[in-house]
Amino acid sequence: MSAPNTPDEPPHATRLREQFRPAILCVLVLTILAGCVFPVVLFAIARPLFPRQANGRLVTRGGTVVGSALIGQEFTRPEYFHSRPSAAGNGYDATSSGGTNLGPNNPKLTSGAADFPGIRQLAREYREGNGLAPDAPVPIDAVTRSASGLDPDITPENAELQIPRVARARGLSEDAVRRLVAGHTQGPQFGFLGSPRVNVLELNLALDEMR
C-alpha cells in the first residue's frame, strides 16, 4: 500500500496504479453527492418555501397564464406600454434567448438590413409612434436590444415618453397613467444595485385593471 518511508515523513503513495480506484469512485460517488443529493435537498427546502418563485413567477389572469413577471413580452398596440426591441428568436421568444451580437461599428446595427430594423429606423418609429418631434431625444434602451432578448423592464425615461400615447388610446388622463407608472417604478435595489426600471407586463396588467 504505502512506500517505505523515511522516519520523519508521513506515509506516501508512490504507485500510480493505486490511484485509478479512488479516481473512478470519486467521479461516481461525488457526482451522486453533488448532482443528485444536493439538488434533491435544494428542491425539498426551496420549493415549499418559495413556491411562486420556483415555478417561474407565472402571472395568471382569469385562469389563463398570460406570461411571467420576469420574462418580457412583445407589445405593439398603442394602449399598452411597449417593451424594448428584442433579438430572441423573432422577438421575445423565451425558448431562444440572446442578443444581436452585432459589433458597435457593424453598419447593420445602426442602418439595419432586410428584416432587421437598425437603430436609426427604430428611433424613427419610436418617435412617430409616440408623437415626438423628429429630433426629440430618445432614451437608448428604447432603440437597443437587450442581452437576453427577454428584458422585462424599460427605463422610467422610456415609460415617461410613452405616457401620452397610452393615455390617449385609453381615454385616461396623462396624470392618472403617470401615477400608475410611478407606482410601478422600482429604484436601484437596496438603493445602490442596478438601475431604476419599470416592469412592462405588470404595468400593462395594472392598466387593464383600471378600466
Partner: protein, 565 residues
C-alpha cells in the same frame, strides 16, 4: 446615476477585501485539515466518504502523483460527462424533444464535456434548446462542484508546496477534493441557491410554459431546475449558465441583488486565498500585497471599461439618442452592474456574463480581452488563481532580482535553475497556445467560417477572445462567433485542456521543488516580498509581460477597430 454606479463598484470591492481575512483563515483551516466550526456536522460524513472512496487520508503524495490524480480525475469527469450528454435522449423528463433544436453531436458533447470538467464551461450551444433537465443537473451541476473542488485542491497543494520545508510531498489530492467539496462548496451553494430561488430563479422540472400574452399571442417560456446550477456556476468559477443568454437571462439572474451575489461568489474565495497563502507561509503581509495588486489591476480595468461603455456610443452621434451603450445590456442591471460584471467575470475565470460582449465598444472590449490574456491573475479561477498570481509574482521576483543584483527568493524559497524552468514554461504556455490557435483559425477556411455576424478587426477579436477565454478556463464568448462547428469544438477544447492541465502540472511541479527546499531567513541580500514596492514591481511585470506577448494581436483587433472609427 453615476454616484449609484460608483457606490456599487466601491461596495463590491470593499466587501471582497473585508471578507478576505475571515474567509481566507477559514480556507487555511480546510487546507491544513484543522478543526472548523462545521466539523461536528461534516467530520463523520468525511470519514464515511473516505471509506467508500477507498482513500487513505493519512497518505501523502509527491507533486508528480498529485498532478497525476488531478489529471486522472479531470479526464474521468470529462468522460463521464461525455457519456451523460451522448445518452441524454434516453433521460426521462423535460423539456419536450420539439424544443431541443440543437443536436448533441459527438464533437459538441466532447467540447462540452471538456469545457465543464476544466471549469471553462465554454458553451457552443444554448441550454434551453439543447439539453434535458437531468443532463443539466446530473451532468453540469455536478461538474460545477467537482471541477471547482478539484481546482481548489490544486490551489491548496500549490500553497502547501511553498509553505512546507524539506518535504517530498504536497498533500493528498482526494482529501483536498473531498474537503473542498464538503467544507466550502456544498454549504455555501446550498445557502446561495436558496437566496436565488427567493429572488425569483425557477427551480422546477415542469414542461415549458405556454402563455397567452395580453395581446393574444402565444409565448412559450423555457423552465427548469435553473437555481440548482446558477449559484455553483459562479462559486466554482465555472460560469456556464442554464440558458443561452447565461447571466443576462431574467430567470437565471432576475434582480440586481442576485447579480451582485453572483459577483461576490466569483471573487471572494479567490481573493481570500491570497490571505490563506500569506497565513500558511507565515508571511501575512505578502498575501495582502498580492491581493492589493489584484485590486489595483481590477480598478484600472473597471475604470477603462466604465469610461468606454457609459459614454454615448459615438456610432449614434447625431441621432438624438441619450444614454450610454445599452445594446446587449439589460435594464435592471443598467450600465453599472453590467460593466462590473463584465470585469469580474473576465477576471474570475467565470464566463457568467450578463451583457453581450460583442456589442461592447472597442476599448471596453480591450479591457476584457486583456484580463483574459493575462491569465486570470486578478482573483482568477478557484484555486487556479493562486498559482496564476504567484507565477506572475515570481516573474517579478526574477526581474527584480536581475535589476538589483539580489538573490531571487520568494517567501523564503530560492528560485534556482529548476524553479526558473517551470516558471518560464508556465509564462510561455498561454501566449503560445492562444496566438498559435488564433493564427490557425484566421488562416483556415473553417476558422473564418465562424464569422457569421461580424467581420474585419471585430471578427478577429471574436476569434482571439474565443481562444483566450478557453485557455484562461473562463468560457465567456463574443457570441457572434458561430463556435458550434467541428473546427471550433476541437480547437477550443485543446486550449481548455492546455489551460487547465498544462498550467496546473507546471505549477504543481514548481510546488514540488519549493516543498523540498528549506525556508531561508530574510537577509539584507533578499528582495522583500511584502512591501508596496514589491507590489508595484508585480503590477508592472504583469502589465509589461502582457504587453510584450499580446500587443501585436490586440493591435489587429480592438485597437485598430477603435482607431478606424
Amino acid at each position: 446615476m453615476t454616484s449609484a454606479r460608483l457606490l456599487e463598484y466601491f461596495v463590491f470591492l470593499a466587501l471582497v477585501v473585508a471578507l478576505a481575512r475571515p474567509v481566507g483563515l477559514y480556507l487555511a483551516r480546510v487546507c491544513q485539515r484543522e478543526r472548523t466550526f462545521l466539523d461536528p456536522l461534516l467530520r463523520p460524513l468525511e470519514s464515511v466518504l473516505y471509506r467508500i472512496l477507498g482513500v487513505h487520508p493519512e497518505q501523502e503524495m509527491t507533486a508528480g502523483v498529485y498532478s497525476f490524480c488531478f489529471l486522472l480525475f479531470g479526464v474521468g469527469c470529462a468522460l463521464f460527462l461525455f457519456l451523460i450528454l451522448m445518452l441524454q435522449r434516453w433521460l426521462p423528463g423535460g423539456p419536450a424533444d420539439s424544443y431541443l433544436t440543437t443536436p448533441m453531436t459527438p464533437d459538441l458533447a466532447a467540447n462540452t464535456a471538456v469545457s465543464f470538467a476544466t471549469t471553462t464551461t465554454w458553451q457552443a450551444y444554448g441550454g434551453e434548446n439543447t439539453l434535458r433537465y437531468l443532463a443539466q443537473v446530473i451532468g453540469l451541476v455536478a461538474q460545477g462542484f467537482l471541477a471547482g473542488a478539484a481546482g481548489l485542491a490544486a490551489g491548496f497543494a500549490f500553497m502547501r508546496g511553498i509553505a512546507r520545508e524539506r518535504s517530498s510531498t504536497i498533500g493528498n489530492f482526494w482529501v483536498d477534493l473531498v474537503r473542498s467539496l464538503l467544507y466550502v462548496l456544498l454549504p455555501l451553494t446550498l445557502i446561495g441557491s436558496l437566496i436565488l430561488v427567493w429572488q425569483g430563479v425557477p427551480l422546477n422540472l415542469a414542461p415549458y410554459t405556454i402563455a397567452h400574452t395580453l395581446e393574444g399571442k402565444t409565448q412559450i417560456i423555457a423552465q427548469g431546475p435553473v437555481a440548482a446550477l446558477e449559484f455553483i456556476k459562479n462559486l466554482g468559477t465555472n460560469g456556464g449558465g442554464f440558458f443561452n443568454a447565461n447571466g443576462a437571462h431574467p430567470y437565471a439572474n432576475p434582480t440586481p441583488f442576485t447579480n451582485f451575489l453572483g459577483m461576490l461568489a466569483i471573487a471572494v474565495l479567490p481573493a481570500s486565498l491570497m490571505i490563506t497563502l500569506g497565513h500558511i507561509t507565515r508571511r501575512p503581509r505578502a498575501g495582502w500585497v498580492l491581493l492589493m495588486v489584484m485590486v489595483a489591476l481590477f480598478v484600472l480595468g473597471l475604470a477603462v471599461c466604465d469610461r468606454a461603455e457609459t459614454a454615448p456610443p459615438p456610432q449614434l452621434a447625431g441621432l438624438h439618442i441619450t444614454g450610454g451603450n445599452m445594446e446587449g445590456k439589460e435594464v435592471r442591471f443598467g450600465l453599472g452592474s453590467s460593466i462590473l460584471t463584465a470585469i469580474v467575470t473576465s477576471n474570475g475565470s467565470t464566463g457568467s456574463y450578463n451583457s453581450m460582449y460583442d456589442s461592447y465598444q472597442p476599448i471596453g472590449l480591450l479591457a476584457l480581452v486583456i484580463f483574459l490574456l493575462l491569465g486570470e491573475v486578478v482573483f482568477g479561477g478557484l484555486g487556479a488563481g493562486v498559482y496564476s498570481m504567484v507565477m506572475a509574482a515570481l516573474v517579478g521576483v526574477f526581474l527584480g532580482g536581475l535589476m538589483v543584483g539580489r538573490t531571487p527568493e520568494y517567501l523564503g524559497k530560492k528560485i534556482g535553475f529548476a524553479e526558473t524552468r517551470w516558471i518560464a514554461l508556465y509564462a510561455l504556455l498561454t501566449p503560445v497556445v492562444v496566438l498559435a490557435l488564433t493564427a490557425i483559425a484566421v488562416l483556415a477556411n473553417a476558422g473564418r467560417a465562424g464569422l457569421v455576424t461580424n467581420s474585419g478587426p471585430h471578427g478577429f477579436t471574436e476569434i482571439l477572445f474565443a481562444y483566450a477565454s478557453s485557455m484562461a478556463n473562463n468560457g465567456q464568448a463574443m457570441a457572434g462567433l458561430n463556435a458550434n462547428s467541428g473546427f471550433y469544438n476541437i480547437t477550443t477544447a485543446i486550449a481548455m485542456l492546455a489551460g487547465r492541465f498544462g498550467l496546473a502540472v507546471l505549477a504543481l511541479a514548481l510546488a514540488g521543488c519549493f516543498a523540498a527546499q528549506r525556508r531561508l531567513p530574510a537577509t539584507a541580500g533578499t528582495l522583500p516580498n511584502d512591501t508596496p514596492t514589491f507590489g508595484a514591481l508585480v503590477f508592472g511585470t504583469i502589465l509589461l509581460g502582457g504587453a510584450l506577448c499580446f500587443l501585436p494581436a490586440l493591435a489587429l483587433g480592438p485597437i485598430v477597430e477603435f482607431l478606424r472609427h
